[in-house]
């Protein structure tokens, strides 16, 4: 399966691109797709996870427009062609 990550604000600048495609296997989770993204873009690692490898609380992860916190967090199982998004705190207005 392939998943598309969309990156925003300083995360896109750190990665050097706004969209990153990663390959995952059936049954894998959002957390697995995040591992794949960070493996391919190591500059993002410390911005997104702390020293224990825990997702920093200010970082948002969305799957198909919905915050994964409203599902099973990083344990949310992926479906084919999900659109995943990673971004810092929103700052409109």
């Amino acid at each position: 399966m392939t998943q598309q990550w969309k990156l925003f604000a300083d995360l896109a600048e750190l990665a050097g691109e706004r969209e990153v495609t990663v390959d995952t296997a059936p049954g894998e989770t959002v957390g697995d797709a995040l591992d794949a993204l960070l493996a391919a873009n190591p500059d993002l690692e410390t911005r997104v996870r702390d020293d224990d490898g825990t997702l920093r609380p200010e970082i948002n992860v969305l799957r198909n427009g919905a915050d994964v916190a409203s599902e099973d967090g990083l344990g949310t199982e992926l479906e084919a062609d999900d659109e995943l998004a990673l971004f810092p705190p929103v700052s409109g207005g």
Partner: protein, 278 residues
């Protein structure tokens, strides 16, 4: 309202007029169309349509006819003022002819294009215009929205006859927080396309579901917004002032907390993402 520029880039005045003609006809199939012509030879508030023997008799003159037809001339009016006036006049499209600012997506007639122009199409003749696809692309651009446009829109709501209050919030670019603050040149907003619009729609629906609230409009610009310009509008039509004020405040607070829009600030000597600063 969507805005399109048309620029003579070597094609000649008559060809430009025929191109504008075709564009206006195409836009008119989808909505009311306004045209702004920039002509540096207009001077002293006099218009070519008036009898040159007459003086306007004021700094601004409206000649009114039957059925609301009108002709006007005057002084002290900018392209931005004219485009704002068309938006207020409920135009769905504005065509700005002959102004070389590069701030609107532009059709160039001829290929001698000034640097910095945001070109959507370059044509040599009117027949070169692929109108359907061009109008579709113009529709995808950031719309020109003013506070007044939104106020007029809520006044047309179904229950407007029960609404005694309109409250509005305008967020604008603040150049500085204190005297010794480095001035902000501009902000640049990035939006999560699709998802930001879904969140705005959901927020609007939640606010409109409140008792005594009859219509809500929310608009946030994206791209570069310069010092002193407006960024975001919240407009609420409500039965009474208490619901109107409360809903406007909650609306802007929730928009800032929930909608995936990101702000980069560019000052005269630095640039940074706003969420990275305390």
């Amino acid at each position: 309202m969507q805005v399109l520029g048309v620029l003579d880039c070597g094609g000649g005045g008559e060809t430009v007029e025929r191109v504008v003609d075709r564009l206006v006809d195409a836009f008119a199939e989808r909505g009311r169309v306004g045209v702004v012509r920039y002509d540096a030879t207009i001077a002293d508030g006099t218009s070519v349509v008036r009898d040159p023997g007459l003086t306007p008799g004021g700094d601004v003159t409206y000649d009114l006819g039957a059925d609301g037809d009108w002709v006007a001339c005057g002084t002290g009016f900018s392209i931005e003022d004219a485009v704002d006036a068309l938006a207020r006049d409920d135009c769905a499209y504005a065509v700005v002819v002959g102004h070389r600012t590069g701030q609107y997506p532009t059709v160039t007639v001829g290929a001698d294009v000034p640097e910095g122009t945001d070109v959507v199409a370059t044509v040599e003749t009117p027949a070169d215009l692929d109108l359907e696809s061009l109008v579709d692309r113009v529709d995808e651009h950031e719309p020109h929205v003013t506070l007044e446009t939104l106020v007029e829109r809520v006044k047309r709501a179904d229950d407007a006859d029960r609404a005694g209050a309109i409250a509005t919030f305008t967020g604008r670019v603040r150049a500085r927080d204190s005297d010794d603050d480095t001035p902000t040149e501009y902000l640049e907003f990035e939006k999560y396309d699709g998802v930001a619009d879904e969140k705005l729609a959901a927020l609007r629906e939640a606010l409109e579901a409140r008792d005594g609230v009859y219509a809500v409009e929310l608009h946030h610009r994206t791209g570069v917004v310069r010092d002193g310009e407006d960024i975001v509008f919240v407009v609420v039509l409500a039965g009474h002032r208490a619901e109107a004020f409360r809903t406007v405040e909650d609306g802007i607070n929730r928009l800032k907390a929930e909608v995936p829009i990101f702000k980069k600030e560019v000052t005269i000597d630095d640039e940074f993402w706003v969420h990275d600063r305390p």
